[in-house]
């Protein structure tokens, strides 16, 4: 008998005519849940619908609430309302019963708000993945795939950066007017260049035409160019005295040949100096001798 009574009480409590139901009792911080409130009343029964402002209970906040809905049947009326809730603080919250009149009130509800746990595995999380949780929330396959995706992304970023750098490099080269494809340079030994230039100078017959200054200017230039390339110092920018100082290591007889021509050239270039036919020929001869005596032989250069 006692058992029957207990079953009756249980059934009556389950089928009670006022309810307040949450979508779920456990949410993460900031998640939204719906609270459905409904009450069944006799047609002429008095009730007092509670007015919700910002929150239902302390930190459980109301985002929106629907208007009251009233459905009427032959003997009763059902009034309902949906309220969208959220909470930004973790913890367990007890939502107190909603009282409609002295006979009708809902049960109290428990809402658990969990925080989001952050650990090192979050770095490898797919941000597009809506599944949020700790590494433990994923299977081994999922973690492996996520790691694969992570490295794939890194490879893509490196690839894009390299491509951008290449584009930048090509644009810069193009602007400078340089050829991207470098041509192989043919290195002509300085003595060959100098001797060819002396040959050309001789062909011009400048001093024979009375252009002594031009003749010695060119002769001096050829010798200084040769000296610069052969002995690797800035001979074009140095005066005669400094050039000879830089060539102290070579034999004085050979150096005197260069000195003779350069000093003669200086005298003609800067002091309106004159020169005899024999001296002009001698200058050319000494220039060639200096080059021949100081040239680097092919075998020597390849050593």
């Amino acid at each position: 008998m006692k058992k029957l009574f207990f079953i009756f009480i249980l059934i009556s409590s389950i089928s009670f005519s006022q309810t307040a139901i949450l979508d779920t009792n456990t949410i993460l911080i900031g998640d939204q849940i719906e609270l459905n409130i409904s009450v069944e009343l006799n047609l002429n029964e008095e009730y007092n619908w509670p007015e919700f402002t910002d929150s239902v209970y302390k930190k459980v906040e109301i985002i929106s609430q629907s208007d009251l809905k009233e459905d009427t049947t032959e003997n009763s009326k059902i009034i309902s309302q949906q309220i969208l809730l959220t909470c930004f603080d973790s913890g367990s919250y007890y939502l107190p019963p909603i009282v409609f009149n002295k006979n009708k009130k809902t049960e109290g509800l428990l809402l658990n708000v969990n925080t989001i746990s952050i650990n090192d595995s979050s770095a490898m999380m797919d941000i597009t993945d809506t599944k949020i949780g700790t590494k433990d929330d994923y299977t081994a396959e999922e973690i492996e795939e996520k790691e694969r995706n992570f490295w794939k992304r890194i490879a893509w970023i490196i690839g894009i950066l390299m491509l951008l750098f290449l584009i930048y490099y090509l644009i810069k080269k193009y602007k400078k007017g340089e050829s991207v494809i470098t041509k192989r340079k043919i290195i002509v030994p300085p003595h060959i260049t100098a001797l060819n230039k002396l040959q050309n100078l001789q062909k011009k017959k400048l001093w024979q035409k009375g252009e002594l200054k031009e003749y010695y200017s060119e002769l001096s230039l050829i010798l200084r160019e040769y000296t610069e390339n052969r002995f690797n110092f800035q001979a074009l920018e140095l005066p005669t005295s400094d050039i000879t100082k830089n060539l102290k290591q070579i034999d004085s007889n050979i150096l005197s040949k260069l000195e003779f021509v350069l000093l003669k050239a200086d005298n003609i270039k800067y002091a309106k100096g004159l020169s005899l036919e024999e001296e002009n020929k001698e200058s050319m001869k000494k220039s060639k001798e200096f080059i021949q005596l100081t040239k680097i032989e092919k075998d020597e250069s390849s050593k």
């Binding site: 002594l212 920018e237 005066p239 270039k269 800067y270 004159l274």
Partner: protein, 332 residues
């Protein structure tokens, strides 16, 4: 063609004759001044080119002694002006003084009315005093009241600056420092030279220089210096150097581009040419060669090239820039 060659030979002979005064001067100066050959050479170059000279060096390097000895050897007047913060332009130039007896103003000429002026520590006086001196240096004349007075010839100003103790000084503005033909940096004497200096000072009598020249000798020597031949190629070389200091980027000096705020003015070209001629003269040559230009380049350009903050931050000096210019500009 032959005629011009003869001209140069004649000029060489003339210079050999005229430059004898250089030997005489150098001999007399060396009796008193030990070492500092570069300073003495630059002093003679400024004297022969009708320019002025700015010396920078720590105290006690014979700056005053050099100019006073020079004045003594040339039979010329010498004034020393010690620049101080309370100095007034009238203290240098002179002023009008009222005579109650005559009931009129009379002109009292200042110490600037001398052949050789030593402006000691020029950066210690305020701008108005510096300006008064520098204007006189440029114009070679002074106006006191209504009267204009021409300054003596030769007129050489040797100003000194102390590179240390910069507090409370008035650095010369670029426009005024440009009026000095040369800026010479003086260094300490060598050990052997200093030993001799010490002995001179400990001796009973300090050596004295004799008067060996008249001011007219200097004036005639200046005329010969003007005749020293400068070929178009040397002119081109001078211009290439000055233009490289102005537009380093366009003259293969890309790495110096960020270090130069301004380059040499036309006064730099003029003074480099003048100084090169005088240098050729003291080397007994009737024509200028690139070596002369290079030798004078540092003293002529040192104070005429402006440095940027980048240069100062990276410890780049004007000397470094000049060296780089000389290593880049080809000799024609």
């Amino acid at each position: 063609m032959e005629e011009t060659a003869i001209d140069i030979n004649k000029l060489n002979e003339k210079i050999n004759k005229e430059s004898a005064i250089i030997d005489l001067l150098s001999m007399e100066l060396s009796k008193v001044i030990v070492g500092q050959n570069d300073m003495v050479d630059r002093l003679l170059i400024a004297l022969l080119s009708d320019g002025h000279i700015l010396l920078e060096g720590v105290p006690g390097l014979a700056k005053t002694l050099a100019i006073s000895t020079l004045a003594k050897t040339i039979d010329a007047n010498f004034s020393r002006l010690q620049f101080t913060p309370d100095l007034l332009p009238a203290d240098i130039l002179g002023t009008q003084i009222y005579s109650p007896k005559k009931e009129s103003f009379s002109v009292k000429k200042g110490p600037i009315f001398s052949n050789f002026i030593l402006a000691d520590e020029i950066n210690r006086a305020p701008a108005k005093v510096q300006s008064a001196l520098l204007e006189a240096m440029q114009e070679r004349q002074i106006t006191i009241g209504d009267e204009t007075f021409k300054l003596d010839d030769p007129f050489l100003v040797m100003a000194t600056q102390n590179p240390i103790e910069q507090e409370g000084t008035y650095p010369l503005p670029e426009a005024q420092v440009d009026r000095f033909m040369l800026k010479v940096i003086i260094d300490y004497p060598k050990k052997e030279e200093e030993k001799l200096i010490m002995r001179h000072n400990l001796a009973k009598e300090f050596p004295q220089a004799k008067t060996i020249l008249k001011t007219k000798d200097i004036i005639s020597a200046r005329e010969v210096v003007k005749e020293v031949y400068m070929d178009e190629k040397i002119e081109q070389y001078i211009l290439d150097i000055i233009f490289a200091s102005r537009n380093p980027g366009q003259n293969g000096l890309n790495k110096m581009k960020d270090y130069i705020s301004f380059g040499g003015s036309p006064r730099a070209s003029i003074n480099l040419a003048k100084a090169s001629k005088a240098f050729a003269f003291i080397k007994r040559r009737g024509y200028v060669i690139p070596e002369d230009v290079r030798a004078m380049c540092y003293d002529v350009l040192r104070h005429r090239i402006g440095l940027t903050y980048e240069a100062e931050a990276e410890n780049i000096s004007t000397e470094d820039i000049i060296t780089e210019i000389l290593n880049t500009v080809e000799i024609p």
